[in-house]
């Protein structure tokens, strides 16, 4: 009789295998996919910078419009890419549950980790490119920037974990979440500064944890930036903590439902 592997050893080998597999798919599944991973945010930012500077917005909250946009977008992508990748992890890997070693939570966690790593590579590359073009994108307070991006990654993870279960239980939820992602882009303050809004409306928009992450990241790059006064990074971390644990609990509760469809 063969020796039976302990469960942690199985999980570690599954994560490793899934990670390599996901990385292959994410980078090489179709022609020059790795290039688009980098080019998509670049083009996105270039278009928005062109539009905003064309209508003569030189500075936002005391910092250069281009830098303000770039940081906000990269921070938002950290949340959105992680969130959507994790959300779709279970449905995209349904075929793998033919091997009992692979569980739905494995696919979700590995995808989140991979996306975080990719963004951690893409973000400095893009900022370095911007620095070469003469923009002031060297963070004054790197730790604050790191804290903001980490918080957004965790929030994306939590959002993705919860919605990956929700989407499998109620398929319509997937469509609703995709619909919500577009307005979220606007109300998170990627394209306009939330600090310019009058009081009651601003409080409502600051209920969105992603907005806190974006403002905090900008503040980390330029301490003189006029951030939203209600900025509270602990709120983002609180949201991330609650959703990550809720997501893990949901995955545990519905593990069988997710794997066997």
């Amino acid at each position: 009789m063969h020796s039976v592997r302990i469960s942690t050893a199985i999980t570690v080998s599954v994560w490793k295998a899934l990670f390599l597999r996901e990385a292959l798919i994410r980078l090489f599944a179709s022609r020059a996919l790795w290039f688009w991973l980098l080019a998509e945010p670049v083009l996105h930012m270039a278009i928005m910078i062109a539009i905003l500077t064309a209508i003569r917005v030189r500075t936002v909250g005391g910092i250069d419009t281009a830098v303000w946009l770039m940081i906000g977008m990269l921070a938002f992508f950290m949340f959105r890419r992680t969130g959507t990748q994790v959300m779709n992890a279970v449905s995209a890997n349904q075929a793998l549950f033919a091997y009992r070693q692979v569980t739905p939570i494995d696919t979700a966690l590995v995808r989140g980790g991979l996306e975080g790593l990719l963004m951690a590579i893409i973000t400095p590359i893009l900022l370095l490119g911007a620095a070469l073009l003469g923009y002031a994108v060297i963070p004054a307070d790197p730790l604050t920037v790191f804290e903001a991006f980490l918080g957004l990654w965790l929030a994306g993870m939590g959002f993705g974990l919860v919605s990956s279960v929700g989407k499998e239980l109620v398929p319509e939820l997937g469509r609703v979440i995709e619909l919500v992602m577009v307005p979220l882009y606007f109300i998170s303050g990627v394209l306009f500064p939330l600090s310019t809004l009058p009081k009651p409306y601003r409080d409502w928009l600051m209920l969105n944890p992603v907005a806190h992450g974006l403002e905090s990241a900008r503040l980390g790059f330029a301490p003189h930036y006029h951030a939203v006064p209600e900025l509270n990074i602990a709120y983002l971390y609180g949201f991330a903590l609650v959703t990550v644990f809720l997501g893990l609990t949901l995955h545990r509760r519905f593990a069988l439902r997710l794997a066997t469809q």
Partner: protein, 221 residues
């Protein structure tokens, strides 16, 4: 040894819970015994195989596996279309903890599957015969105490089938086997004991011939 204890299974349908597929299935499969599952279409043979293989779970009752059990080897499962045959094979090696000897196992799989250069093409470009060749080769590349096979011997063209049957026979002599097949000859060739599934219950027969006879004497319905 595999112990199946009071297993109940029903599937969730769009109109609430469906009818019971398995209703109180009990049996114990000793190590190194080859067992064939017989029964009409839709009585739950594949469901039972999936439950034994650990990829599906009973609504009630439990399964104990005191040995290394393979994944349910059958048609079309467990391969990702956008990855090549080689990449899929590597993945299966890794999740089974064979990180160290991947090259050896890959060589074996490539050699047995005989799909030539297609081994490095995405699986979605494969014909169904090529897919089953790859799956069959994959299933042979690992050492399990018990293999679970859902019609896996009916893979590929006749030349491959002969080769597959020979390899399967060798495997059946070495370790345990639990299989579903509608080919009476296949069952008699590989299995010594049989389980006849009818009306959600499993009936154990020490000889596969008796199981086949019971199946034939009791037409479904």
């Amino acid at each position: 040894m595999i112990i199946v204890e009071d297993v109940h299974k029903r599937y969730q349908t769009e109109h609430g819970p469906g009818k019971w597929v398995l209703q109180g299935v009990n049996f114990t499969i000793p190590t190194k015994l080859n067992v064939g599952l017989v029964g009409a279409n839709g009585v739950g043979k594949s469901t039972l195989l999936r439950i034994i293989g650990g990829v599906d779970h009973p609504n009630k009752g439990r399964i104990e596996r005191h040995c290394r059990v393979s994944w349910p080897m059958g048609q079309g499962s467990g391969l990702q279309g956008s990855l090549t045959g080689r990449q899929n094979a590597k993945f299966v090696c890794r999740i089974h903890g064979h990180e160290d000897d991947i090259p050896d196992r890959l060589a074996y799989i490539q050699d047995f599957a005989e799909i030539g250069e297609a081994f490095d093409e995405p699986v979605k470009t494969y014909s169904s015969g090529m897919r089953s060749r790859l799956q069959f080769a994959l299933s042979l590349a690992f050492d399990f105490d018990v293999y679970i096979s859902d019609e896996v011997t009916s893979a590929g063209d006749s030349a491959f089938r002969i080769k597959a049957a020979a390899a399967f026979k060798k495997l059946a002599d070495r370790s345990g086997l639990i299989m579903v097949s509608h080919g009476e000859g296949t069952l008699k060739q590989f299995c010594s004991a049989g389980i006849w599934i009818n009306n959600g219950k499993a009936h154990w027969f020490d000889r596969i011939d008796d199981a086949l006879q019971a199946y034939k004497e009791n037409p479904p319905g």
